[in-house]
Symmetry: C2
Subunit: 186 residues, 2 copies
DNA sequence: CTTGACAAACCGTCCAGACGGTATCTTAAT
DNA sequence: ATTAAGATACCGTCTGGACGGTTTGTCAAG
């Protein structure tokens, strides 16, 4: 007899909501804040409802991972399509995506993923697989020291954004970006 | 009337032991493995004893954080003493320490622990403070885009080592290090 | 009327921390 | 040099709550 029982059923929307809330919670309260109770309640769903969509907690985290890497892949692919130079193409796309994350409000999910990656061993493995797959795919064009360095710098910047540890002003940020671009070409 | 009651008191040693054990546990079992029960038991101390030294769990984690940043500060200071060039001196010391971490097998636990700590929001704030303090201290010499970029790249490399996501061979690693050094000078 | 999409109550486990006690150490007056 | 009087350093037990997960029930759509 509850409200939820009477509202129109929209499982896909609820699923998305759950993922979104899980991401937000882990950002605000750390990985420990992602409990089944908290996520379900914040998403306006019962715990049983959550467990209907994700049979256990790991499935929820995996869902988050899939969601986010999917978006990442699509964004990178999109960027690569507009790059005429083959050497370092993947690296430049990676850079673009990372820099775009700063402005994107949706980027909070990404930050969360990273933190979750660091703490959850299973997701660490999945991330390793993701990196290995892409390294293999672009071994001919993006495995120079310069490309690697550029991507590492992007990761560092990303980390700094997550931790809000550095306060980089815009001109400096653009200067760094130019340098990273140059690195991707050598 | 237990044996432990009769053994010689050595508070400082017990404190160190607790920190050491907490670090080891987080390495072996992840952040979730650091429970008061586990730490106290592995350190041969009762839970009450642990809570005498650290009044709550956060205090224990803070103790770990202090321990680690203390070591980090000393290592950086040491490196800076041997660098005659003022511009980018802090950055180069930072690079040296990060690269040293990778080669030092003992320090591996250090990395995982750091990650565990960073997943805790409160400690994230403390880390931010640490970074801000050092940025302030070396604002004259280490705030160029090149220095920042070099440090970000070091962070990225460090992250990759933790996640074991990239498999970088030694020549490439050295090539990157040389580039990062050059960045610290511009 | 079957099945998918939830709700709600409940269970076993684990964990942080409180609590009351005991043994050792320190200090300072004798 | 003793020793009484705290202060400090622990010990061992208990509890309340949180958390992951299960089970059972309910509604609604096809």
């Amino acid at each position: 007899m509850s409200i939820a029982h009477h509202r129109r059923k929209q499982p896909e929307l609820v699923r998305q909501q759950l993922l979104e809330v899980a991401a937000r919670l882990s950002l605000e309260q750390g990985a420990a804040g992602v409990t089944l109770d908290a996520v379900s309640q914040a998403a306006g769903v019962s715990k049983g409802g959550l467990l209907h969509h994700f049979p256990n907690k790991m499935a929820l985290l995996n869902g988050l991972f899939d969601d986010l890497t999917g978006k990442l892949d699509r964004a990178i692919e999109e960027e690569m399509r507009n790059d005429p130079i083959s050497h370092g193409r993947f690296t430049r796309a990676y850079l673009s995506v990372v820099f775009a994350l700063e402005e994107d409000v949706d980027a909070q999910g990404w930050q969360v993923l990273t933190v979750a990656l660091l703490s959850e061993p299973q997701l660490r493995d999945r991330w390793r697989l993701w990196v290995a797959d892409h390294a293999d795919e672009f071994v001919g064009t993006d495995s120079s020291a310069g490309c690697l360095l550029a991507r590492f710098a992007a990761d560092g910047l990303w980390l700094a954004d997550i931790l809000k540890s550095h306060d980089v002003n815009q001109p400096t940020r653009q200067a760094m970006r130019a340098q990273m671009l140059a690195l991707s070409l050598q």
